[in-house]
């Protein structure tokens, strides 16, 4: 049926695939562990969380070792895998580490969470889904093909919908359904946009030359609209406008550990793909009639809207997790800024911001979860606990200051760097929209301060209500984790060069 020619080409392709297999060992381990945990649970039902978490940890450790081997063995030529589906870059390797770190933190935080232990959800499924999500994230970080982007995003999304419902009460179902509906909608929109893009260039591989030339030849407005639609799923993942609507409800209703995970890992992956995507689309000038529009203009508008909406909505929140949800929206806007800047400094500052962002978020959610022992998630119920537990209070203070972006925390350095990148972009392009974004973004810190400060305000400025609420137990493990998460936030402010020197290598 096939010509001889074709057969030899086929065997050639199969050999390439076999060669590629070496570079996805971490992902294979994750997939294997995902299946393994499900099987284990079938054989031994009701294993305690401790054991299952330990096994998961083993898998994560093994994956981390394999990722490290990739880092060591990495050669620039070994870039294209599976006939152009994946591309392994140092940045992808670095963020694979970060994803594994996020999963580990989530597993630990879930084990620590009282509410989670009380409702006794099926632990095995919980961990298995986390691992599946990790697999999706790993693939997403490496994807350079629209189909792969879409599929790995779906793996992440599907796992998310289920994890969001893990309290199994009405509130959680509501949050999860909302998440599912918005998610399905945005992924539908994304698919539509992708199919248009495919129509323009006849290839799915965004790093392909044909992709760029195809887009450059197509009508400007058509590409702009199609590109925006294709971004939808990613904007949804990073909860940027106009796909942010799910964020507050899901954050409020889902287990804190899961929320902390949602706020970090998928967001990072989403931003990374967006970065890739913008790099390609940024090369093209779009002409709408006589007006020249750039891809970054679209991103800049989205960033401005997202920052303003997130910050101002957060002002009215009285619930800690809801407030953090709006803060996550606002931060999504800040994460778009390096994409708008689209220069070398932008890339480095984005990586810096993301790294710091992981620590800030896990710090914040860990603290919120600790406080939930004595208070519900209402910020008001934090009254006076800062004086009773100064170290905890101090931790909150540092994390909130870092989220606001004030010195002496790495949160400030991150902001300084992204806004420096943006200023530089403005200097070279003289695009007034960038200046607007620059000023709006910086001045929004005042708004951000107001709501972030609410937590230290209640912790320190209000007396502990008498009689005191139930006892707050803080274990040594909590302190250890908090120090591990919070110390770098301060350290990297004073020694920014250490982290930046490493991030610089991730070209």
């Amino acid at each position: 049926m096939f010509s001889k020619n074709l057969v030899s080409e086929l065997s050639n392709q199969l050999n390439q695939i076999l060669d590629s297999l070496v570079w996805v060992y971490p992902e294979l381990v994750l997939a294997g562990w995902f299946l393994g945990i499900l099987l284990l649970d079938l054989v031994w039902r009701n294993l305690p969380y401790r054991i299952l978490a330990g096994i998961t940890g083993l898998g994560l450790g093994l994956t981390a070792v394999l990722v490290y081997r990739q880092f060591v063995d990495f050669q620039p030529l070994s870039g294209n895998l599976f006939l152009g589906m994946l591309q392994l870059s140092p940045a992808a390797i670095y963020f694979k580490f970060i994803f594994l770190l996020c999963i580990a933190c989530t597993v630990l935080l879930a084990g620590r969470s009282r509410l989670f232990r009380r409702t006794k959800p099926p632990y095995a499924e919980f961990l298995a889904l986390l691992l599946a999500m990790g697999l999706g994230l790993h693939l997403l970080a490496m994807s350079v093909n629209l189909l792969m982007i879409y599929l790995s995003l779906e793996v992440v999304s599907l796992s998310s919908y289920i994890l969001a419902a893990f309290h199994f009460n009405q509130k959680a179902s509501e949050g999860s359904i909302k998440y599912l509906l918005f998610g399905a909608f945005s992924s539908g929109v994304m698919l539509y946009g992708m199919s248009l893009l495919y129509g323009f260039c006849g290839t799915l591989q965004i790093t392909d030359n044909q992709f760029v030339t195809g887009l450059a030849q197509a009508d400007g407005m058509a590409v702009l609209v199609a590109g925006f639609l294709a971004m939808a799923g990613l904007l949804f993942k990073i909860s940027a406008l106009p796909f942010h609507l799910w964020t507050p409800d899901v954050y409020q209703a889902s287990p804190t550990a899961v929320v902390a995970f949602f706020a970090t890992a998928p967001k990072i992956a989403g931003v990374l793909v967006l970065w890739q995507f913008s790099q390609v689309l940024g090369k093209i000038d779009f002409w709408l009639g006589n007006v020249k529009v750039e891809w970054t203009d679209l991103l800049a508008v989205l960033a401005i809207l997202t920052i303003i909406f997130g910050n101002f909505s957060a002002l009215w929140q009285t619930q800690a997790k809801r407030m953090l949800a709006y803060s996550a929206i606002a931060h999504a806007g800040f994460l778009l800024i390096p994409l708008v800047a689209a220069n070398e400094l932008g890339r480095q500052s984005l990586f810096f911001y993301l790294t710091v962002y992981v620590l800030m978020n896990f710090g914040a959610f860990w603290l919120v979860e600790l406080m939930s022992q004595v208070a519900d998630y209402q910020i008001k119920s934090y009254e006076g606990w800062g004086n009773a537990y100064p170290i905890l209070g101090l931790g909150f203070l540092v994390v909130m200051i870092a989220l606001t972006g004030l010195p002496p925390t790495a949160g400030f350095t991150a902001k300084l760097l992204i806004f420096s990148a943006l200023w530089e972009a403005y200097q070279s392009s003289q695009n007034q929209l960038l200046l607007v974004l620059w000023v709006v973004g910086l001045l929004n810190t005042v708004v951000a301060l107001y709501y972030y400060l609410k937590i230290p305000f209640y912790l320190f400025l209000r007396p502990l209500p008498t009689p005191p609420n139930p006892i707050l137990t803080v274990r040594k493990l909590d302190y250890a984790w908090l120090i591990l998460l919070i110390f770098p936030l301060i350290f990297w402010f004073f020694k920014t060069d250490w982290l930046m020197a490493m991030l610089k290598m991730l070209v």
Partner: protein, 175 residues
Amino acid sequence: MVLLLFYFFCFLIVVSAFLMLLTRHILYAAFLLLLTFLGIAALYALVGADFLAVSQVVIYVGGVLVLLLFGIMLTHQPVGGQPSAAPQTESRNLWWGALTGIGFFALLAQVIYKADFTSKAWIVSAESQKRLLNNSSIPHLGANLMTHYLLPFEIIAILLLVALVGATLLASRKS
């Protein structure tokens, strides 16, 4: 002739999908969905994607939809019964919604019109190569699935497993 068929099936798809949205009766909606699926299968067949057309019929019409109908019939009131009560939330912003929808549709229509797909170089060359192929697309699908699209194929397996786990989990946990 082909063009006429194309418009006929398009009409079928759009009308049935639209009616599906409007009807309050879930069983009717399911039957209308059947029509939509069939129409889409026909469109696949028209562009020469024979395997896809057959799969569409077998999987969606024969599998998914039949399951759906079973589910509805087993859980829902019989045909002819009163449709369930009005939805609890009122629909606000009807006009704004309609306006946005129509506006968006107009935008997309303009995009597709402006995109001018038929003159795209790669489509033109694909059109010319089409005649060189045999009548069936199955060998190429098979080869591609095992080479270029091997990884997506495997990932879909994981994706489906995740969905399966999730579905059983949520269903079994319903209090």
